[in-house]
Amino acid sequence: MAHFEIKNLSFSYPAAREKKTLQDINLTIGHGQYVTVCGRSGSGKTTLLRQLKSALAPHGKLTGEILFEGRSLKEVGLREQSGSIGYVMQNPDNQIVTDKVWHELAFGLESLGMDQKTIRLRVAEMASYFGIQGWFHKNVTELSGGQKQLLNLASIMAMQPSVLILDEPTSQLDPIAASDFLNTVRKINRELRTTIIITEHRLEDIFHASDKVVVMENGRIIADDEPRKIGEFLKMGGNHMFTAMPTPVQIFYGVENSLTCPLTVREGGDWLSQLFEGKEVRERQVPEIQEGRSVPEPDEVKDPAVFVKEVWFRYEKDAPDILKGVTMRVPKQSLFAIVGGNGTGKSTTLKTICDICRPYRGKVYIDGKPVQKYKGGELFRGNLAMLPQDPQSLFVKKTVREDLQEMLRGSQKEQAEQIEAIAQTCEITPLLDSHPYDLSGGEQQRAALAKVLLTNPRILLLDEPTKGIDSFFKQQFAQILKRLKTQGVTVIMVSHDVEFCAKYADYVSMFFDGSIVTTNTPNRFFSRNSFYTTAANRMSRHIFENAVTNEDVIELCRKNLKKN
């Protein structure tokens, strides 16, 4: 008997009766399976997952049937559902109800009216299994994003669900916390035989672990198969979702061959070895500097857009130093990426550049002029603007249009023209009259960018711009940045997204322990690292010398195979 069986399910929201959000969904999920649901933003993933738990099912017109362990889901009481169907949502913060970690773990059990003894045991079990003992007594506000999401997971697991539904659980987390979280989910699946249904943008970590991958498009399931076959299906169909596949899959289908598709970096490396077995590899390098990218050595940059000189900073007099002699020169019209772990001071560097944090030693020059000399908001008028980590915090009005208007002075007509122009640049014209909170992560990012760009900055500071964005929107975002660069804008970006930096940045700097360790072009930077580098590089380094992006590896493979 299947765990979940969905038969001919269609659904439409009351506001848009003709447009079906879900259409003829048929899906069977077995006990203990790990099922990944993927698809672009707005393809109906969340709507589908929410149908699987009556307490969360949105209002609307529903036809078809959902069977849970052979019974119609409607007949399974809410009480039983809340125990046996666990649901983890996107936002780690808003899901937490109580003020203490231990209380949050007990919340669900309290709701079901369990007695002290049972709760005590379950809470103890969960805290031990998830390694929460260290912060068991803490206030929830003291936790990091990753810990919060782990707490959400643990407090749901305390109710001992047989199926766990996760809706983009790691979209707000940094890659390391995200990996940790997804590994825990996998552990639950393997050790407790809990059925997992998960949607994710970062397929790298879950694709290979899945028993089954479901691809959705416009409210329909277009593919439902094991992971190895999904790549082939998407490649054949020329589907956009192919760009979301893990690196080894993308490279595999970029090179003509008849071997089996690798899913992990290890398999990818083996596959490359097999591919070149008995063949001579002549071309081991890609040209270090690609076309269209002019890159002088960062230390020799004349007339930098931003020059940070030996900056030291701490938040309070007795607090430890956050920045310890940061020095960097950002050439004009470049995309300058800063990578590095959490809490090393990357975001603080951005704040010192825009004078929100004042260094106690050292100086920041914007276009050769010390940043303090820009008086009375001059700095933010036509010079500098920062896109914060959470784009949502920039929205203060009821529609995107009003939010953009807030930035403008002048007559109605001029304003309308400016908004029209910026909306086109950022590709948000159809979204102008929506509420900013109704947009998806990628759409919010672009709308926030539009708002920031209305100050006409020559220097743009971005704090983790690709967090929680699907691969399609990332490409779109990169195109916008490229366009801005040709218009003379300098972009400084703090990011965890190694793949994105490798592909689009002109320079990459490694930040560690309050200062910049090294700055180089992405190609040199990543090909010299062995851990902090792209999956493509890790997979191909035993054969190629400096292949960093997927395209590099594919190109080298093709060249070498042609010659032989």
Binding site: S82, M89, N94, V97, T98, G113, K451
Partner: protein
Amino acid sequence: MTRETDAFSAYHPMINFTFFFGAFVCGMFFMHPVFLVCSVVFAALYYLSIRGRRGWRYLFGMVPLFVFLSIINPLFNTYGAHVLFTYFHGRPYTVEALGYGMTIAAMVVTIFLWFASYNAVMTSDKFMYLFGRFVPSVSLIFTMVLRLIPSYHKKTEQIRGARRGIGMAADTGTTQEKVRQGMTILSAMMSWALEGGIVMADSMKSRGYGCSKKRTNYALYRFAARDKVMLGVMAALLAVIAWCGMRGGAAAAYTPVFFMAGNFHTVIGVTAYALFLAIPAVINFTEDIIWHILRSKI
């Protein structure tokens, strides 16, 4: 901070509360000088044992308050047999009234000190644990409020920071601009809070909130054997104090003539009172000593 250093607060919340309740009531009730000295000394001692060196500052702050309250009383109250001096054409300033002023001042200082310790020991979750179980829904709302206030604060800061990064700082410009900025942030906060509220409601529903008729209230505290013993000791001491008080052991009068009781019941009462008030300080000090001994053995 108190969790590591204060051994008394590791006792069951009921014990903590009973102690402070007793200390407050007695502190406000007894006007007998010896009792008062006990109140002040032990309140100060316990406060210091929680706060350590940083406590001295607060303690010294109490001195001017004490002096001020003491000397001000005779200005309003002119009763008393011994006149110190006269002012305003013969208005007397009496020793008895000054003594009474000192008594009132000592009481106020005592209550201040106990309250400072109370705040450190009886955290909100302990209070809610003791009194929340009578109305579970109220106690849940209370924990949610405690959860939301810091998160609203954080979000406000985030919005302010984000706006500063695009040149819309809330702390520059004319007053009118500042007010407008403030209102914008407030309205943004409202939308954000509502949005977050919906997610939280979903999260609660999905974890069975409202499914069961009776919600239980989980707490970490356990009423252990030592709590039982401590409750017994405290009850006994309080009974002795009350008995002595009723027998006139704590009687005292200041105006017009100074009088204070000094009989058998006073001795017993003061002893019991001192023992009672010393409980937390003694617990803390013995704990320190035990650790010291244990450590030197290792």
